[in-house]
């Protein structure tokens, strides 16, 4: 049993939450207007086309903003941890809320380069951000 509350999988979100099994970050993409839709929906929010399908995108991006959470909201919650909003390099108009893992929380800053990795919990592969060392 995962310590995290996991998403309930459905036809719209399954690709996003399970793509990590193959190491792929899958975002809903419109085949007509070439834009991305997130959270995933069965229709494009820009051109109303139903020609939308999950597409693997580059896993690199930048910390748009973040916070270090200090409050243990549940028993057994390990604090502090970093919550960040990541903007992906090739996916304008989409933000991913995630944790920045693999570093001390105090090291994270806006503008940090990150790469999305995956953390498996049961049948779900949570996209997580990891800082890319040496890059600015």
């Amino acid at each position: 049993m995962s310590e995290r509350t996991l998403p309930r999988l459905d036809p719209n979100n399954r690709a996003y939450w399970t793509g990590g099994e193959r190491g792929e970050l899958m975002l809903h993409h419109c085949g007509d207007c070439d834009r991305y839709i997130h959270p995933p929906k069965p229709v494009c929010r820009y051109c109303l086309s139903e020609n939308v399908a999950p597409k693997a995108v580059a896993k690199t991006g930048v910390v748009d903003t973040y916070t270090v959470n200090h409050q243990p909201w549940k028993p057994n919650m390990t604090v502090p941890f970093v919550l960040a909003r990541v903007v992906l390099d090739e996916v304008p108009g989409v933000y991913l809320t995630t944790n920045v893992v693999g570093c001390d929380p105090s090291e994270v800053a806006i503008g940090d380069r990150v790469c999305m990795i995956f953390e498996q919990h049961d049948d779900v592969y949570l996209p997580m951000a990891q800082r890319v060392e040496g890059a600015e």
Binding site: P7, R8, D10, T65, T67, H70, Q71, N99, I110, L126
Partner: protein, 385 residues
């Protein structure tokens, strides 16, 4: 011929933490006070509006639905609404104003009842609905333990720190001002001033927001009676005109919005009125988290975007005797989490000169009350004209 909408009565229950009094009775307390305040009787009420309606999502979040109140108080309603899919809490007042303007009702009870503190104290009575997995927008937050709105607001605040140089000392003025004002509000939950040292040494909740940047769960009910312009003959109190209203939602998912909805709603408010920011005598702006208040000051045009921190620096400008008195009842940070309605309540009280010890000087004529944060925003311009 356009009918005007007015707030003709305001009422509030006691504000407490872990109250034993039933939420329906707290609501009744506030209704009775508002009726007496307006000079109306319950028989003259023909509409009810509330946000967010009966809700079981979070314990105590909204334990009194409009159906329940109408039945309980024997109201014969020609129009009512209770729903959470509105442009935030004061969206219910907007709905009511539209209804009286359209002639669908004459006098509408608008209310917000919260019972979150009691629900936390008595989880057996108010159990948390547990679902093993998250769905809806929560599926994108819960797995990352972004479980509180403070986590979402903090990220916007951090962006302000980074882009515009917002400092903790500047942001502190929202909490310090609220707490100073709460000392003069006999109903306020916390009636004790807060010092800068206390603020700066408080524990962090979600950086850059500390404990004192957050409001506090409370148990209370707040009522506004909204009346049609052609029904003012029924009322004995000074009617306060709803001079303008605006609201917005774009991306309901908190993390997909580039800017909070207040930045759309603020400018919109001024497009429906001849008044402008310079005419405003006091502002009552949502402070569920202090940073939201700062965004409202920018969004409404009291200062430029990014200048909010410098605008409130030192606190003199937003003090009760300053040029733009803010949250004169203490805000939710001091008075308790009334969830949006307290701001409109206080605007009416100040515009009528009824605020007692905390009354601001020079007979204020125009006030803004705003609710919401993140993807939702509602603003009301209220005038004693």
């Amino acid at each position: 011929m356009t009918r005007e909408a007015y707030v003709t009565g305001v009422g509030m229950s006691e504000i407490g933490v872990g109250l034993e009094r039933h939420p329906l009775l707290l609501t009744t307390d506030a209704v009775k006070e508002a009726l007496a305040n307006a000079g109306l009787t319950i028989e003259q009420i023909d509409g009810v509006a509330t946000y967010p309606g009966m809700s079981h999502g979070y314990p105590g979040f909204s334990p009194v639905g409009a159906d329940d109140l109408i039945d309980t108080l024997g109201i014969k309603a020609k129009w009512y609404c209770g729903g959470g899919e509105l442009t935030s809490q004061l969206g219910a007042v907007v709905e009511a104003a539209l209804a009286v303007k359209a002639g669908l009702a004459r006098h509408i009870i608008c209310y917000r009842t919260v019972y979150e503190a009691a629900a936390m104290k008595r989880p057996d009575e108010y159990p948390m609905a547990r679902s093993p997995r998250a769905s809806g927008y929560n599926q994108f937050f819960a797995p990352y333990n972004a479980v509180s709105a403070v986590n979402w607001v903090a990220q916007y605040a951090m962006r302000h720190v980074h882009r515009y140089g917002l400092t903790r000392e500047q942001l502190a003025q929202i909490a310090l001002t609220g707490r100073a004002n709460g000392c003069l509000n006999p109903r306020a939950l916390v009636q004790k001033p807060l010092s800068m040292d206390e603020y700066l040494s408080a524990r962090m909740i979600s950086e850059p927001l500390c404990l004192f940047d957050c409001d506090r769960y409370s148990d209370a009910s707040t009522v506004l009676i909204v009346s049609a312009g052609d029904a003012l003959g029924d009322v004995t109190a000074t009617p306060i005109r709803i001079a303008s209203m605006a609201g917005s939602v774009n991306r309901h998912s908190w993390d997909q919005a580039e800017w909070m909805a207040s930045y759309d709603t603020g400018p919109d408010l001024w497009t429906h009125t001849d008044y402008g920011p310079k005419d405003v005598d006091t502002v009552q702006l949502y402070d569920g988290f202090s940073f939201l208040t700062l965004t409202w000051l920018e969004a409404l045009g009291f200062c430029d975007i990014g200048e909010g921190g410098r605008f409130i620096e030192g606190g003199q400008r937003i003090a009760r005797d300053g040029e733009l008195p803010l949250n004169t009842f203490g805000g939710q940070i001091s008075a308790g989490r009334l969830h949006g309605f307290g701001f409109a309540h206080e605007a009416v009280v100040q515009l009528r000169g009824d605020a007692g010890e905390r009354q601001i000087a020079n007979s204020p004529k125009v006030a803004v009350a705003a609710s919401g944060g993140g993807p939702l925003a509602t603003a009301l311009l209220l005038a004693n004209d």
